[in-house]
């Protein structure tokens, strides 16, 4: 560690003096830290917003549970109940917006993870 002071943990089998990508952890880089995660059920056609108080646009991930109980990332396009769905998710500096993206009256479960790390 010649260029900075901090904490490093190497991956199993790797030397602590190896390059950064062989580290399990390094205080030189931020890790994705979960701010908020949860699930919400939405019945078509509807939208909801998961509020946050971070004051900036954070990194996030969203998945939707289809009728076959499989999860896929959102936004996406797929056929479910013989109808094409376009579930939508976008993040602003005040909240996460979720939209079922379909007019058929079906309930879908959204799973979301919002991180502290800033996207914008």
């Amino acid at each position: 560690m010649t260029e900075y002071y901090g904490v490093k943990v190497s991956k199993d089998g790797k030397d602590i003096t190896d390059i950064d990508k062989e580290m399990s952890f390094s205080s030189k880089y931020r890790n994705l830290t979960v701010y908020l995660s949860g699930t919400v059920d939405l019945t078509n056609p509807t939208t909801t917003t998961i509020a946050h108080t971070l004051g900036y646009v954070p990194i996030f991930l969203v998945w939707i549970k289809k009728s076959d109980n499989n999860y896929c990332p959102v936004p996406n396009s797929f056929s479910d109940h013989s109808v094409v769905h376009h579930p939508e998710a976008y993040m602003t500096d005040t909240g996460l917006y979720l939209n079922t993206g379909c007019d058929t009256s079906v309930t879908h479960t959204f799973k979301y993870v919002i991180f502290y790390e800033k996207l914008v």
């Binding site: 950064d20 994705l32 396009s77």
Partner: protein
């Protein structure tokens, strides 16, 4: 590393018996380390547009990409594929977005097929220190 290292349990869990998902941190598992967040802009010319970001690392990186639904909107969507741009249930634009690592050019590549000529989309790409492969 079977019997030594660093572990931190979540509140309410015993660190000696906690399962991995009950830990805040374990040196046994690698963390995704953010190398940086990069910005680019896709401009639609005709019916499609693309942009690239040079790979800042010397190997294929793990990455996550987002773009705003309309230039300067402040509303960012993950660039999943197929990703239909569908804005506020009002301004439905049938278009598809794609984010990929191009191993031939060693670039991160972002494209939008469809949309409106002249429309711009800001791309935000989170590049991790961790290898894609």
């Amino acid at each position: 590393m079977s019997n030594y290292g660093i572990k931190i349990s979540k509140d309410g869990y015993d660190v000696k018996t906690a399962t991995p998902d009950q830990l805040v941190y374990s040196s046994k598992y690698s963390n995704l380390k953010i190398f940086g967040v990069y910005t680019a802009t896709v401009t639609i010319s005709g019916t499609a547009g693309f942009t690239t970001i040079a790979n800042p690392l010397g190997y294929p990186p793990l990455f996550m990409a987002y773009f705003d639904v309309s230039h300067g909107s402040g509303k960012y969507r993950e660039m999943t594929s197929p990703g239909t741009i569908y804005y506020d249930l009002v301004d439905y634009i049938p278009a598809f977005c794609l984010a990929e690592y191009n191993s031939s050019t060693d670039e991160l590549y972002f494209s939008v097929i469809g949309g409106t000529d002249g429309q711009q989309y800001d791309v935000k790409c989170v590049v991790f220190v961790d290898k894609l492969y």
